[in-house]
Assembly symmetry: C2
């Protein structure tokens, strides 16, 4: 038995680099950027008109001129034109290039246009007004997006602007999610009295979907030889195996034994936490996977090890362990630093066992404060209680009384 | 010109019901549940063994018995067996049905098994211990998930458990995103000096993707007749049109005029806010769409109106207006109530214009407090500044000085 902190350290020391792939930028939301994005030109790339109106030579205004003959129109998307007579003006549209020989824009609201003349209705204008000056937001070569950023809609706009129609992102691990337990039947089946439907694998699929990781699922019967044969092939084929169940002390909990026989190194089994205690974690090292010239396996050179997360089969245990261990493991693997989030405990909690307590909470926001109200479920089997809560608050094992107003880390799942 | 509050009210009074569709539950993450989910059986559905160990008749223990002959094994997923002799025991596995004639489970850690006998190592056990009693978490017919819930991984587990392999969710609106502006070229093109690449449509696609709404995109040249012909067909085909650009006072800002000519009712144009002021909003009512027996259009009876959001073309304006107006419109349309989130302002801000100020902020979390630090961009054209921020704080128009420590609403985009 090790502590949650020790377990997390071991997990975080087993991260992997899955390499980089180039994908269409529009498909990259939620993925991790694996290149620096630089400005390919100044932004704006020209002196850009920022209001619809007229462009003039400010010197004429200073000289007292208030009426300007309209020489032409500079539309957005047209090549730059030139003001021929500095006493005249050019009508300009937002987004257009500022015409040559002009240096100030007066918006339509401040002029009256009649008979081809624009007459100012205002007394004061400024030099260079309503112009978004070339390079003001950034110069060519400026770093716009750091490597290892999680790509969101904001980054998509920048990628489009600089012409990154394809973008380098972290490859996702290839994940197989396996359920065991002969009491489990399919979602579309009617269970017999002693059976229940599979649910943990689908919860895990959805939790991985939040990280934009596609996954496959399988169910293996509680038969040691079948389990062994299947896992042997999964170890070859996948980067990560997530198991739900078969890691406790039961007669048919073959998983630790089978993994040992298949050469998967156990890094720990059982963590001082509730729920989720019988968590098994290990890895299999594939020398052949590390050999770029190997022709035995057609695997990527980045896939050095296969990582095995053996989550306990109770629904809440699987759920919280995926969030508390797999998520940080993934983020570190792809190079993302995630800040710990804290919350104010909204009610007193007493918890005697010498275990880290992942307690389900409902979050409430008021005046910039995030408060977590404990919701008591019926233990680790009570899947329906997850619907009523938003997060787990992590209460440390070295205390037994936790008071309203104290601050603790949380793991949110909404 | 109307206020942000009035604009939002008008937008929220123009919501639509897009109807309901039934989809595979595993595809439903992020969608809005449109049925109540009830327990199809008690949970657990039987007296469920919750620890690996032996099941005994507690009366024998009370009578002083400490060694129990092992009669058999009750595995998870096996039909219930019966203890024949109340002085014996049955080995039981987590998840199994509690055998007939037994009423307490002693975990393996607390027994020694030798020669077919299980000998207790502990002095005290409780009646009914380590049994997850039938119906404890919920009874058949209990409401497990409310209608209008946003489906997350937690709900996926419950849907699987109760056998909802298909689930009713809100249909998504059919959305077309249109950019205008002749200065725009494709992402994979090299712009001429007076051109820039399209970016707003892709930002909008990504913002809608967060709501699991698929969308299509188009670019229309600044030609009134082309604009009119295309919009006429889009109004028929889509539930929502999102425009970026062509709503200001420019000579080529034909959109308001064209929409008017096509019978789209203008509900407002220009809002007292910065950025995003020239926002145009309206709707077209289709009598034929309301007539279920109509054979003119093969449209769904739910598609009564087409809603038009005409966002100003500046990148930040489009971005903030999508979050401030389209998002609440969508959530109300599909029946979801969203709480307003507030935050503590992390620095003084002075803003003189009589406008609601959507100011870009970087969020920091500490001790359960969410604080927003203003990041000054270079105005509404500075797309790259969105990469450095997480949210917009909404500062009201009736004040000009905003002090550190005050609380205001925010609109997050990460």
């Amino acid at each position: 038995m090790i502590s949650v902190k020790e377990a997390k350290n071991i997990v975080l020391n087993s991260t992997q680099d899955f390499g980089v792939e180039e994908i269409p930028f529009i498909k990259s939301v939620g993925r991790i950027l694996k290149e620096k994005i630089f400005a390919d030109r100044d932004f704006p790339p020209f002196n850009r008109v920022s209001m619809d109106g007229i462009a003039i030579d400010f010197q004429s205004f200073k000289n007292g001129q208030r009426g300007f003959k309209i020489e032409g129109i500079q539309a957005a998307g047209s090549e730059q034109i030139t003001l021929q007579n500095s006493n005249n003006c050019i009508e300009v549209m937002t987004g257009a290039v500022l015409p040559n020989n002009t240096n100030s824009v007066v918006r339509y609201e401040d002029v009256t246009i009649e008979n081809g003349m624009a007459i100012l209705n205002i007394d004061a204008i400024n030099n260079a007004q309503n112009i978004h000056v070339k390079g003001k937001d950034g110069g060519i070569g400026d770093l716009l997006i750091e490597e290892n950023t999680i790509i969101s809609a904001a980054e998509i706009g920048v990628l489009a602007t600089v012409g990154k129609s394809y973008v380098k992102v972290a490859k996702q691990p290839k994940v197989m999610i396996v359920s065991t337990g002969d009491e489990l039947v399919g979602v579309d089946e009617i269970p017999l009295e002693h059976q229940i439907r599979r649910s943990n694998v689908f919860t895990l699929v959805s939790l991985l979907e939040r990280l934009h990781i596609p996954s496959e699922t399988a169910h293996i019967t509680d038969d040691k030889s079948v389990l062994k044969a299947k896992i042997e092939s999964y170890l070859q084929e996948y980067d990560v195996l997530l198991f739900s169940g078969a890691v406790s002390k039961g007669k048919f909990d073959f998983l630790p034994e089978v993994l040992d026989e298949l050469g998967v190194e156990k890094l720990f089994h059982t963590v001082t936490q509730r729920p989720g205690k019988p968590f098994w974690f290990g890895q299999k090292f594939f020398p052949s996977k590390n050999d770029e010239n190997s022709d035995k396996y057609t695997v990527d050179k980045y896939q050095m090890n296969t990582i095995v997360f053996g989550f306990p089969g109770n629904p809440i245990s699987t759920f919280v362990n995926c969030l508390a261990y797999f998520y940080p493991w993934y983020y570190k693997s792809v190079g993302v630093e995630v800040e710990e989030e804290t919350v104010i405990l909204g009610g007193d909690v007493s918890f005697k066992p010498n275990l880290t307590y992942f307690l389900q909470v409902k979050l409430e926001r008021e005046n910039g404060l995030l408060t977590a109200f404990p919701i008591s479920g019926n233990g680790s089997g009570d899947l329906a209680s997850l619907v009523k809560t938003d997060a787990f608050i992590q209460l440390p094992s070295d205390k037994t009384e936790f008071k309203k107003g104290e601050v603790y880390p949380i793991i949110r799942y909404r």
